[in-house]
């Protein structure tokens, strides 16, 4: 539909979260309105302390068709996972 407002992707940083997390998307005519709508749609239950909005059209995504070449090669590289180290008890939870 030509008169539909642009789509925005919404990222919220929670009370104790370190980073913004993608929570969904909504329609708004500009960034300012997107922030307001995000506040009303996604933070009604005290979920967030910060909101980022990004125009969905500005996001470049990897192509699903290239899934194989992009991600399969890392399947068998177990040595990339830090599971071969003994962690001293004193370090605590990591």
């Amino acid at each position: 539909m030509s008169n539909e407002l642009p789509l925005w992707e919404i990222f919220i940083r929670g009370q104790h979260g370190m980073s913004h997390r993608h929570v969904g998307s909504l329609h708004a005519s500009d960034a300012e309105m997107a922030i307001r709508h995000a506040r009303d749609v996604y933070t009604r239950r005290n979920e967030g302390v910060s909101i980022w909005v990004v125009r969905a059209a500005d996001i470049t995504a990897s192509a699903p068709g290239e899934k194989g070449p992009l991600f399969d090669p890392s399947n068998d590289k177990v040595y990339r996972h830090p599971t071969f180290f003994d962690i001293p008890d004193d370090v605590g939870a990591m």
Binding site: M33, H37, R39, D40, V41
Partner: protein, 252 residues
């Protein structure tokens, strides 16, 4: 009129105004132009009903006859309501709803700022809590007034019509009576007529940005604050109070 009699009336005015406006705004639920607006309007309505709860509870406490907020909201008839006439106006189109909200929000933000300095701590506490919500309502409604006023020829015409229609009802907000004078004297509430200059400045800024012409009429409809309402309030109450009237004391 004693101090408490005046304060009881005053709390009813604040609580009834937020109750009726909250009900009006809630009528949009499921009908707003877009889903995002629908949720935003429902949030606003809930904020207003929450504020109502505080003012009517305090009214019941001051009255001292054992009536709680629900009794006051659901078991009084139109002539006992003290809400401003502006808020019982039908929603009309989305623009009319937004304009009504903006004119009220601008007033509420100034009134609450005054009430935060109230000599009565209960009033000051409620005002402090409500003022944050109202600050957001005002930001939202002012933004929409500008977007729609300075929008298309169609939206501009609708917003100008909305402003012209609401204006004489809005001016009731600034008409002070005995209740207001008693409370202003003891420092419980600001005299509403003293808020007019700031309201004019605030609304003037937004309306000029919205390219809308401010009506030059000073005529104000009166009556809401003393229980003389338009025919619309009865219809609102019929819907709002139906369940408690049909099934007295029903709970869930």
């Amino acid at each position: 009129m004693t101090r408490d009699e005046a304060l009881f009336e005053f709390c009813l005015r604040l609580g009834d105004t937020t109750l009726i406006l909250g009900h009006r705004v809630s009528e949009w639920c499921g009908h707003a132009p877009i889903l995002e607006e629908d949720i935003a309007l429902a949030n606003t309505a809930l904020d207003l009903i929450g504020e109502t709860q505080m003012w009517l509870s305090l009214a019941g406490e001051i009255e001292g006859k054992g009536r709680n907020a629900d009794d006051l909201a659901y078991l009084r008839d139109a002539w006992d309501f003290r809400n401003l006439l502006l808020v019982e106006r039908p929603n009309g189109d989305f623009g009319r709803t937004v304009m009504r909200q903006f004119l009220y929000d601008a007033f509420a933000s100034l009134m609450l700022a005054g009430l935060m300095k109230s000599a009565d701590t209960r009033v000051a506490q409620i005002a402090a809590k409500a003022s944050k919500e109202v600050a957001y309502h005002l930001e939202r409604s002012a933004d929409l007034v500008v977007r729609l006023g300075d929008g298309t020829a169609e939206s501009h015409a609708r917003m100008q019509a909305a402003l012209d229609e609401h204006w004489p009802y809005a001016l009731e907000m600034f008409v002070a009576d005995d209740v207001d004078c008693v409370l202003a004297e003891v420092g419980i509430a600001p005299d509403p007529s003293t808020l007019r200059a700031d309201w004019d400045a605030l609304t003037g800024r937004v309306l000029s940005q919205a390219t809308l012409d401010i009506p030059d009429s000073g005529f104000a409809h009166k009556g809401g604050k003393s229980g003389r309402h338009t025919e619309h309030l009865g219809h609102v109450l019929t819907e709002m109070q139906w369940l408690q009237r049909a099934y007295p004391g029903a709970r869930w």
